[in-house]
Subunit: 210 residues, 2 copies
């Protein structure tokens, strides 16, 4: 089956069956997320992979009571962005660049860091919105990889971020959640979304050719 | 080659060679973007697919002089989000839902629209940021599909959105650009990025397992 055929078949699973995914499928989804490109390469986020039944239950009860797929997902991923890009974060990033790309001229790397400092010289909210967009590219990679692996999944925005961030002590760690992503196996009996035709704009409505 | 192997090989192409991509590859990338899921299914954006050499040149000159790949890309996609979700946009969306899912009870569809109206009852900026995140999911789908088709590509945030929006009269159409996405063939001689090792956080740095 082509990737497009698999993307046509995927849908937002609203009820899962509690079974664990094979580890190699989980690994492939995480690896796609890790490989996603981000602005200036910074990957300004951490991703919490929740496998503990107790924590999944708590997330459902305290932060996302409208999302019954959470307790029965195999994994729930939480995309949590940096609330502030600190000097320490940039130090770690530039250590990684220097280690991975030793062939780059030092002046070039310093100029790049200066450029980044300039671009990040915005309000805290503007930087957080920028970071959130980068996380959503990675979410797109996770969604595509899940479809490619024929794993059921659903992106979740409908939750209370303050409650989730408090539950997981994210703010104390300079993080704020921007979305969740549940992966697992659909519940064939109760997942009403599985049988509904996909609603998408037509090619002519969505695209304009210039 | 697996999808993961293809995602490992992709990179941000900084110099393209001006050749046109085969139409079936372009079609597959656009179809992946069209199939991307978005919050509440709304797809709150339009995507301009720029093929005209004149317009690519103008974009480069007036809005993105730091992005030399633009004039030599095969296509430059512009993701442009709704600045306001109007009643007319919702009418069109619910017409599409009713046409695609005639089996849904009318009361359910009305309740869904009421819920959407509630969720969209935020400031213009909050709604635009929300729409931008949805566009970035679609960008993630485009990036993955390009890699899968072994097409070179690059997401572009480093441009002047006011200048681009003015050039294309986007504001008059209730749209604002949030990013560009160039696809094409790398210039094997001048694309310095093609030969650099990929910089990514390690699995242990990026993910935390709970």
């Amino acid at each position: 089956m082509t990737l497009i055929a698999k993307l046509s078949k995927r849908y937002a699973s609203k009820q899962m069956n509690g079974k664990k995914l094979p580890q190699n499928k989980v690994d492939n989804i995480l690896e796609a997320i890790r490989l996603a490109p981000t602005s200036m390469g910074l990957q300004p986020f951490k991703i919490l992979v929740v496998e503990s039944q107790e924590i999944k239950n708590k997330i459902f009860e305290t932060a996302a009571p409208g999302q019954p797929q959470i307790p029965n997902a195999s994994q729930v991923l939480i995309f949590a962005c940096y609330r502030k890009v600190t000097d320490e974060i940039l130090d770690t990033y530039f250590d990684l660049i220097n280690k991975t790309r030793p062939m780059l001229a030092k002046e070039k790397v310093i100029a790049y860091r200066n450029m980044m400092n300039g671009l990040l010289n915005k309000t805290a909210d503007e930087n957080f919105q920028w970071a959130a967009r980068q996380a959503y590219i990675a979410l797109g990679f996770g969604l595509t990889a899940a479809a490619e692996q024929e794993v059921d999944s659903v992106p979740i925005e409908g939750y209370n971020p303050e409650a989730l961030d408090k539950l997981l002590n994210l703010h104390e760690r300079n993080l704020g959640s921007v979305c969740m992503f549940a992966i697992g196996f659909r519940n064939e009996e109760t997942d009403y979304n599985a049988r509904l035709p996909k609603v998408r704009k037509s090619t002519l409505d969505l695209f304009e050719f210039l």
